[in-house]
């Protein structure tokens, strides 16, 4: 499936990509499989969204879609249908904190 992912500015600059990237993710589409694909396509992003040693979401990274916060959703849960069909993007962003 073609999944649309919006990346935060820091990671766009790091990966040298535009704001939105499209990933072809195999079924079932979960946060885990999406991030695996993202890191495979852009290896420079390894460790920036998930901690390299624990594979957990970094504390100040958030996942939003369909005006909902998916940050604490289990990585193995399916993503919403509208994200899976590409009608809506998954937004990855840095939490608002600091200056």
């Amino acid at each position: 499936m073609s999944i649309r992912v919006i990346l935060p500015q820091h990671l766009r600059n790091l990966a040298k990509v535009p704001k939105e990237v499209v990933l072809n993710v195999g079924q079932p589409v979960t946060m885990s499989s999406l991030l695996d694909t993202l890191e495979e396509q852009y290896p420079v992003l390894k460790g920036t969204i998930r901690d390299s040693s624990t594979s957990l979401r970094r504390p100040y990274v958030r996942f939003f879609a369909l005006e909902a916060d998916l940050s604490n959703q289990d990585f193995g849960d399916p993503l919403p249908d509208l994200v899976v069909t590409g009608e809506e993007p998954l937004i990855i962003l840095g939490a608002m904190a600091g200056g």
Binding site: Q9, L11, L14, V44, G47, S52, S53, A97
Partner: protein, 373 residues
């Protein structure tokens, strides 16, 4: 026509890296950057044997650690491996409140490229650990003998975290490496980093229960006399110290300094007993005494210090100079450089006799490294 010698300053800041260059007169400077804008660059340093090879530590609290490498003197950078895995048993250290915390990688504070092999580079990390790469940063392995030292479980962080911030290589290729940790102290390896032992005899720290304990000292920076590698100088949290036996014993050389608190210390590359510090008022007043930015130079190996003020602000100056933010080039006369937390870089082309602000209003400066190219 003579050979044109140039100096390059590698500058790490709170919001990116900058590279300044000059000819050998060191009067006119140009600046490039920011590289990695918006990211913290704790340290950026070049290989002593191949100045075109540069390693930069890029990080944020949001997105973690990135390692950047350049093979062309900073014209361009590319990312290398950013996985710093602690070897089992990972173990724990003490936190500020005395509870146990597992060692956990947070960021690289310092890169130390080998003196002769540009592909060999050491990384000093928070939580305190030392890593080594033999392939130019393509992969990293921990030298776990340091963190797994018997005292490791008692180490506690300083205010900036439990960080290994200084790595010094003995130029005699004898396997000797020094590492300094806040707030554990100085450690030495004599077998290329396999095993380590604390070398803190002579240090006295009122801020710990046993002032002359084997470990627990907040060492801010150490520097080696390159011409006498057994002579080391130290800026401790409080106290400026010296050792003449490779760290086996330390003695105080604070002498007539207006304050012996500070972060930086440096040794003149050609004049063995010439040492530089920048006194800071105290550990709660992180600014120069009396609002006067003064570099102090000793030409007697410590004890007697002269203030160097020409060209430096002598009123209303309330900046700090962090531990990696001063360096000295090896031209003759040597250039001395430092950066402040208010984003100013000062340079002296005459070993400190006079100073000029060469750049101002950069982000807060974390590190300054001088390269001769």
């Amino acid at each position: 026509m003579g050979i044109v010698t140039a100096v390059r300053l590698l500058v790490g800041t709170k919001k990116g890296a900058f590279i300044a260059t000059s000819d050998e007169r060191r009067r006119q400077w140009s600046l490039k950057g920011p590289f990695f804008g918006g990211w913290e660059v704790y340290h950026i340093k070049g290989s002593p044997t191949d100045p075109s090879r540069i390693y930069a530590s890029q990080s944020t609290g949001w997105f973690g650690q990135i390692v950047q490498r350049s093979d062309n003197g900073g014209e361009s950078f590319y990312t290398v491996d950013n996985q710093f895995a602690y070897e089992d048993p990972v173990g724990s250290h003490l936190f500020y409140d005395g509870t146990e915390r597992g060692f956990e990688f947070k960021r690289v504070w310092h890169f130390e490229p080998d003196l002769s092999d540009p592909d060999l580079v050491y990384a000093g990390a928070e939580d305190a650990a030392i890593f080594k790469s033999i392939d130019g940063g393509k992969s990293w392995g921990e030298l776990s003998g340091l963190r797994q030292h018997a005292t490791g479980q008692t180490w506690q962080p300083g205010a900036g975290g439990l960080c290994l911030h200084t790595i010094v290589m003995d130029p005699r290729s004898n396997g000797r490496i020094f590492g300094a940790i806040s707030a554990a102290g100085v450690f030495r390896s004599d077998d290329w980093g396999s095993s380590w032992r604390p070398i803190n005899r002579g240090l006295l720290s009122d801020g710990i229960p046993d002032p002359d304990a084997e470990t627990g000292h907040c060492v801010h920076k150490i520097a080696m006399d390159p011409n006498r590698p057994d002579t080391l100088f130290m800026q401790k949290h409080w106290d400026v110290m010296r050792s003449d036996d490779a760290g086996e014993n330390w003695y105080e050389i604070s002498g007539d300094l207006p304050s012996d608190f500070g972060f930086v210390i440096g040794v003149h590359p050609h004049q063995s007993d010439t040492v530089y510090v920048i006194p800071i008022s105290s550990d709660y007043e992180h600014f120069p005494p009396d609002g006067r930015l003064r570099v102090y130079r000793s030409t007697s190996g410590g004890g007697q210090w002269e203030p160097l003020t020409k060209g430096l602000p002598q009123s209303n100056c309330y900046v700090n100079v962090l531990r990696d933010a001063m360096d000295i080039d090896d031209l003759d006369p040597s250039g001395v450089y430092f950066g402040t937390t208010s984003g100013d870089i000062y340079a002296s082309a005459d070993s400190g006799d006079s100073w000029e602000p060469i750049f101002s209003s950069l982000p807060a400066i974390y590190s300054v490294e001088a390269q001769r190219i």
